[in-house]
């Protein structure tokens, strides 16, 4: 089984600035994947970025990048040049094999507010 912890219930950022959302996880599996999902008020969960645990290189998707620290079991999301459309709830999630095969384990989420 795995656990995912997001310690920041809320964060805010000024438009065009950079913000980092924190996530820590725990799993006994050696093969796992980590994700950040965005959930705007529309409720649609949108995949932002994914990271394979076996890859040392941090994933990037345009303005979104991660800082994956495997030994520390840390997986933070950096949003650069923040835009008003980035305002949403952000969830960190872990997918691993073993007895948890098929299940995404989610953190509690971080509400991101973007100020104009």
């Amino acid at each position: 089984a795995q656990t995912v912890t997001q310690s920041q219930p809320e964060m805010s950022v000024q438009e065009a600035e950079t913000v980092t959302l924190s996530c820590t996880y725990d799993t006994s599996e050696s093969d796992y994947y980590l994700f950040w999902y965005k959930q705007p008020p529309s409720r649609q969960m949108i995949l932002v970025i994914r990271q394979e645990a076996y890859k040392q290189q941090n994933a990037t998707e345009n303005r979104f990048s991660v800082n994956f620290q495997k030994a520390a079991k840390s997986f933070s999301l950096k949003i650069s040049d923040s835009q008003l459309g980035d305002a949403a709830m952000y969830f960190c999630a872990c997918y691993a094999g073993g007895t948890s095969y098929g299940k995404l384990t989610f953190g509690q989420g971080t509400i991101l507010t973007v100020h104009p």
Binding site: S42, R43, Q44, M45, Y101, G102, K103, L104, F106, Q108
Partner: protein
């Protein structure tokens, strides 16, 4: 192409009634998942279907909850004798077998309110 669709978008029911929630996965995706999101909370896994294999029902909270997947495509989540604590958003997701089964794509959810 079309994403995961769910119906209804919203459902209001009275305590004790049965409800059915529907999920249409992305065409060609073999895996289908149901999650529940209570107000202001993260997502809780309910059930997982993979192809024709027996589903993983380990997340269903009680025997009032059941789910079927017909023909390896559409899935229905049924909640019998609904209780107020069943009020939540029910999210469905699907994923392909290859190349990345671990990446799940979500529908817009059904918001269930039990009065």
């Amino acid at each position: 192409g079309a994403g995961v669709s769910q119906s209804p978008s919203n459902k209001v029911t009275e305590k004790g009634k049965d409800v059915e929630l529907r999920c249409d996965p992305i065409s060609g995706h073999t895996a289908l998942y149901w999650y529940r999101q209570s107000l202001g909370q993260g997502l809780e896994f309910l059930i997982y279907f993979q192809g024709n294999s027996a589903p993983d029902k380990s997340g269903l909270p009680s025997d009032r909850f059941s789910a079927e997947r017909t023909g390896g495509s559409v899935s229905t989540l049924t909640i019998q004798r609904t209780q107020q604590e069943d009020s939540a958003v029910y999210l469905c997701a699907s994923s392909p077998l290859r190349p990345a089964q671990e990446t799940q794509y979500f529908g817009p959810g059904t918001r269930l309110l039990v009065l």
